[in-house]
């Protein structure tokens, strides 16, 4: 059976523009989460975020910027970067109707939307931008990527909370394996840094609470005894996926493969919590392992969901133990997102890109802020600095979302 190869990556994250900047930051175990300067966040429980140094006007025309939200700017920019990286020109290297786009996004374009809502209530209907409807909705990046790049094949947006990007990637892989497209841009994007966008995250109960005297970079502490929740961020990352055989025929460099995936749903009450034994998450992990045709002991590293939410951290640990058993004693687990923030729709694509690069270098990056393992955790956590473990071929990427969504991806070197 053919495989799904990753042949291009485009990224804009709080660590910088491009995969190199992201990897460098992660390899150095850097914290690039800062105090929010995009709006006055002093009244929020978590006034820190991963912010991207990206000025749309430097890359996109004014008439495009005015009709779209920042999340679309980031998406179009990183999609272009990914295709350029893969050396794919739509209409030349792939027919437009054989190219597709799969996007993960959670919140939509609130920076644009809340500005227009303010005008609605203060100035009336006529003051609202005619672009409001198409600027906010979560499928705006998908549509605009298609228009910008001339893509006319399968396109879809996935909204599954923090597992959105994982769904976009697995659907991209399925689309290729079913022969519905030959090249698929699969990834995710999020731009939650607006007063209302950030408020949505605050009221979700998922965010880390800032403590007096604590630096912004120290707030996100997955698996650490001081964990108190997630610090979110903005960013975008797209992968170019194509069937392994066609990538080989093109003679293009392959980063690695999407070897398998597994999904499950906790369906546990109350809505905002997770099934307390981790057994449903374990099912999704096991399905990803099985589908990729390897045994659990052949998995060399886990790029964890690592939300830093105590109950999620601990149940993720239970699930890893259940699936890997004794092998978990020597299975490095890491959450590099602790350094730059959980990027919501872009989180899973970023983890996949990091896993691919980590396997290329034989280095498992460390989890920032991990000083003392939280009680209840019995994992081989990578802390302090990156761990060199020699060559390994399979990495598990774990993602979870509100409502009990579990989506795991197996990344192969």
């Amino acid at each position: 059976m053919d495989g799904v190869a990753v042949t291009g990556i485009g990224a804009a994250t709080p660590a910088g523009i491009g995969l190199d900047a992201l990897w460098t930051s992660v390899e150095r175990t850097r914290a690039c989460i800062t105090g929010i300067d995009r709006f006055d966040a002093s009244g929020y429980a978590c006034p820190a975020a991963g912010q991207v140094g990206f000025t749309a006007a430097e890359h996109l025309p004014a008439r495009f910027i005015k009709r779209t939200d920042r999340f679309t700017h980031l998406a179009v920019f990183t999609a272009r970067q990914a295709l350029a990286d893969a050396g794919v020109r739509v209409g030349v290297d792939v027919a437009p109707e054989r190219a597709g786009v799969m996007v993960g996004n959670v919140l939509g374009g609130w920076e644009f939307a809340e500005r227009e809502l303010r005008k609605l209530w203060t100035e009336g209907m006529r003051a609202v931008s005619p672009y409001q409807a198409t600027a906010w909705f979560p499928a705006a990046p998908q549509g605009n990527i298609c228009i910008d790049l001339g893509i006319k094949g399968p396109a879809r947006t996935f909204v599954a909370d923090r597992a959105s990007g994982a769904y976009a990637i697995l659907r991209g892989a399925e689309t290729l394996l079913r022969g519905q497209a030959d090249v698929v841009l699969a990834g995710g994007v999020e731009a939650p840094l607006s007063p209302y966008g950030w408020l949505c995250l605050e009221t979700s109960g998922l965010m880390a609470k800032a403590r007096a005297g604590q630096q912004p970079g120290a707030l996100y502490r997955p698996f650490d005894a001081g964990h108190s929740g997630t610090v979110f961020g903005e960013g975008g990352l797209f992968l170019v996926l194509e069937r392994r055989e066609s990538a080989r025929r093109r003679g293009v460099e392959i980063y690695g493969e999407i070897a398998g995936w597994g999904v499950s749903t906790d369906g546990y009450m109350p809505y905002y919590t997770v099934e307390p034994t981790g057994r449903v998450l374990a099912r999704a992990m096991r399905a990803a392992v099985t589908r990729s045709g390897v045994a659990p002991r052949e998995v060399g590293a886990v790029f964890a969901h690592g939300s830093g939410i105590p109950v999620e951290d601990v149940t993720e640990g239970y699930a890893i133990r259940e699936v890997f058993g004794d092998a978990a004693d020597h299975l490095p687990v890491t959450a590099p997102k602790a350094g730059f923030g959980h990027l919501l729709g872009a989180a899973a694509p970023v983890d996949v890109a990091l896993a691919l690069w980590a396997m290329r270098l034989g280095l498992v990056p460390a989890t920032v802020n991990l000083e003392r393992s939280a009680p209840g955790l019995d994992l081989d956590l990578v802390q302090g600095g990156p761990r060199r473990i020699g060559r390994w071929e399979h990495s598990l990427v774990v993602c979870r979302g509100l409502g009990g969504v579990n989506a795991c991806l197996m990344v192969r070197r």
Binding site: R63, I65, K66, R67, Y131, T134
Partner: protein, 82 residues
């Protein structure tokens, strides 16, 4: 400032380049779709304190048309205010 100059100024505030706004430039050449036309019309209405016919879609096909429509409305305005 002439009416034409003001129309151009309003449009350049919406991201258009001065050089591309010749009288003969068509909506199609400039890639102006129906939504952007609404944006331009609302901005012109606000700037000139006039009300432009909502069925401007088919009848305004160039920058020159826009300038004429605005000029006509302003002239009518003046005439009505006497």
């Amino acid at each position: 400032m002439s009416i034409r100059d003001q129309v151009v100024a309003v449009m350049s505030g919406l991201g258009f380049q001065l050089g591309e706004l010749a009288d003969g430039a068509s909506m199609q050449d400039l890639g102006i779709d129906s939504t952007e036309l609404v944006e331009i019309v609302v901005a012109l209405e606000k700037h000139f304190a006039i009300s432009i016919d909502s069925e401007v879609q088919g009848t305004v096909t160039s920058v020159g048309d826009l300038v004429s429509r605005v000029s006509d409305l302003l002239a009518t305005d003046v005439a009505m205010k006497g």
